[in-house]
Amino acid sequence: MANAETQGAGSYSDAAERGDLPLLPTERLWGFWEFTYANSALAIATWAFLIGGAVGLFVGPREGIAAIVIGNIIGVVLAALPTCVPAGKYGVEQFTMLRSQFGANGSRLVYFLAVVFLTMGWLAVLGMMFGRSIDGLTSLISGSEAAPLGSKVTVAAIGAILLTWFVVAKGPTSIKFFNMVISPALVLLMGWMMYLIFSQHSFDELLAMNALAPPFEDKALNFIIAVEVNLAAGISWWPYVGNLGRLTKNERTAFWPNIVGIFGAAAMGEVVGLLGSVALGNSDPTIWMAQVGGLTVGVIALGFVAFANVTSMANILYTSVVGLRQIGTGAIRAIRWEVLLLMFCVVPLILVIFYPTMYDGFFIFLVWTAALYAALAGIGIADYFLLRRQTLDLHALHGNQLKGPYRYVAGFNPIAITALVVGAVVYIAVFNPQTLESAPVFKYLTASLPSCLAAGFVHYVLTRIFAKGEGWGDYPRR
């Protein structure tokens, strides 16, 4: 009943929209196209240019486009199946739904691992991208050399994070305004960049270009690493899509728009990033955008990209902190909104000051997160589709967590946590994102798929054997 204290006489629909209660079918207003637009707007962000540029390090445009499509379709499907399908059916908040798999405290643990760290990392990377855009822009105007690791970039990155804090502290209205303007404008920017690239090179010329810095002589291995980077990009939507899907009318409208919106839009942005990086010889979009069309184009593009980063940062910061209050304890909810936001920005600020090279190897951070999301996807699919046969107990999800069937052991489901650890270990055993070392199986199966399968298998088998009794998830008997 913790949320009842804050509800008072306010609207229950508002409380349901925030995730405190399940949304009723009549309250869910998004149809197919509304959800498609919403998740396209989320996916068309500056990180797409970064990911596309990273792909260009490993493979040329032909293999890169294939890797973008293959990685993203698998990643988005794995992220959306265990999150959007139950959210579309019951209208339940994603981390409330996760209580059925991990227990109430286990769900909090997953939130911290899956949302807090990811968001903090992206805030730092996008802050640095803002800084480099400003540095590139001022260098273009003054005719001086850009200094990606200079103090100007650090100061601008700190400014970007603080600006994001200020925008989000003002509330969702300001973010909505930025979204309405920035997302369509980014589509125009992508089209403009494509036009400039194709005015200098034919499509065949582009396809025949080589990778910028392939790490291995084995082309197949480089290709699979590019696929894995994209799988990581696709599956890293796991923390966000479920809570958007619950705003849609039913399972179908919660699931299929991800394939059009997130997969289609992200793939388009990444292809632009890939072609730009390979054609201009630099994986950093803040460098190649400065070169692609001369002074005026460079200044406009970099200025725009800088502020588009703030929009992306505001979106993820807002979503994460709303979620944090949702799953957090009373002590966290008691912290003032502005203060909680600022506390969330401390780690990104430290990263931009002391670890500015994170930007150049951001894909390593991205791929590390896939070790977690692949396992979470496997557990979610095994739990919801196979063990629970797509039926959840709403009383248990929203009732007293100390007495209900999802209480497990002190609020943690040791089986799901074991499966999560197994999935992450399998991932790292198959592919080490830090060193890029891999087991032979990686070339055939990637690392995310074995990790997802292993976590799902362990969760299924251990649940069948050990999860008995009323406090152990109340799984249906076969």
């Binding site: 229950y12 890797a67 379709i73 698998i74 059916k89 039913n250 179908r252 009383h395 929203h398």
Partner: protein, 56 residues
């Protein structure tokens, strides 16, 4: 239990009852069915196989 808690519990109960009624009548609209899952599998396999052959 305070009055606020009671009304909150009633509202939760009301919402869960709506879903229980749908479940009892098997009245889920727009459910993902076999056609959706087979279609999704076919689309994924087609994209993966098609781009693999084209790109590698």
């Amino acid at each position: 239990m305070s009055e606020t808690d009671k009304t909150w519990a009633q509202e939760l109960r009301r919402r869960i009852d709506v879903y229980d009624t749908i479940e009892a009548k098997d009245g889920w609209r727009g459910s993902m069915g076999a056609v959706d899952y087979w279609g999704l599998l076919a689309l994924t396999v087609a994209l993966v196989a098609g781009f693999w052959l084209w790109g590698v």
